[in-house]
Symmetry: C2
Subunit: 184 residues, 2 copies
């Protein structure tokens, strides 16, 4: 099957829920076999995430309560792209808000869809190096704690299930791979 | 700040949208600073994903149209956990449905939250080895194409932006790291 034989055609879209962070669209699509079906889509703004590396090789992680999963988890700094904002600028803003650092060097990592089966959100990953103090005030309803860990420790935290955030695991594994470090 | 000083208390929950794949809850929570705010949660069933490795070291990828992101993308086999189903059983079922293979050996990879900021979905990753033909019929509205690629090729497809699915990138980087392969 070629790609064109896998694609679906949108016949109509109805916004069935309009919220603050997500909206839900209910689309009627025509399947490759000619039949029609409904597809639900969570509509969500694009986001950025940045893995900050200190000069000594340790990385910065954020400890943050996430209500949807009802626990305090480890994450890299991240947030939604604001209207008209470029991803690199948003990454610097989130880094400054959540850790108090600005990155002298920003490298692009993967851009990916965390849940393409039901949500259109795209996350742009950056690696932040040559950090310098340059804090920016946090959002009022954001409460975070910053800690630094070695990459080896971060990898063991992924293996043990202590780090459970997808973008954070992806970014750490990406960095480890790009540095040519492995656990063997 | 300790973890308990980061946590939020749920005061009440209202289901504001009930759909097929997701529902949306609007919760009132008490913040660590004592103020109340709303939190939107997309409620979604847990899922499994499985990275299948052939005996020659190549991996199997699925080519599938994903309506929310409006494109045909590369993914590893994945799907929702059915009621009462254990993750390993679900991983075998999805593997059989989408590739026609059963895994003789199933290894657990990370379990992670793809979007903990707004969604409660958890994905359990498996690595499938010692594959043997044992097909199971696909869902009626599922159209996929299977291809095999080397791990080196998969890594270059992540670097080039050809692979954009989060769970697929995470699982491939996890496998590469656990095998001690790196791009340097």
């Amino acid at each position: 099957m070629s790609d064109s034989n896998l694609s679906e055609e949108v016949l109509c879209r109805e916004i069935v829920y309009g919220g603050k962070v997500i909206s839900v669209a209910r689309d009627v699509v025509k399947l490759p076999n000619g039949k029609n079906t409904f597809r639900e889509v969570a509509v969500h703004r694009p986001a950025v995430a940045i893995l900050p590396i200190l000069n000594d090789g340790r990385i910065l992680l954020i400890r943050q309560y996430r209500h949807p999963v009802k626990r305090v988890i480890w994450e890299i700094p991240a947030g939604l792209l604001e209207e008209g904002e470029d991803p690199a600028g948003a990454a610097q803003r989130e880094l400054r808000e959540e850790t108090g650092y600005r990155a002298g060097v920003l490298e692009r990592g993967p851009s990916f869809f965390p849940s393409p089966g039901f949500c259109d959100e795209e996350i742009h990953v950056f690696i932040g190096k040559e950090l310098a103090q340059d804090p920016l005030d946090c959002d009022d309803d954001e409460f975070v704690r910053v800690e630094s860990v070695s990459l080896e420790k971060a990898l063991s935290m992924i293996s043990s299930g202590e780090i459970v955030d997808g973008k954070t695991i992806l970014a750490i594994l990406w960095l480890i791979n790009s540095l040519g470090i492995s656990q063997r």
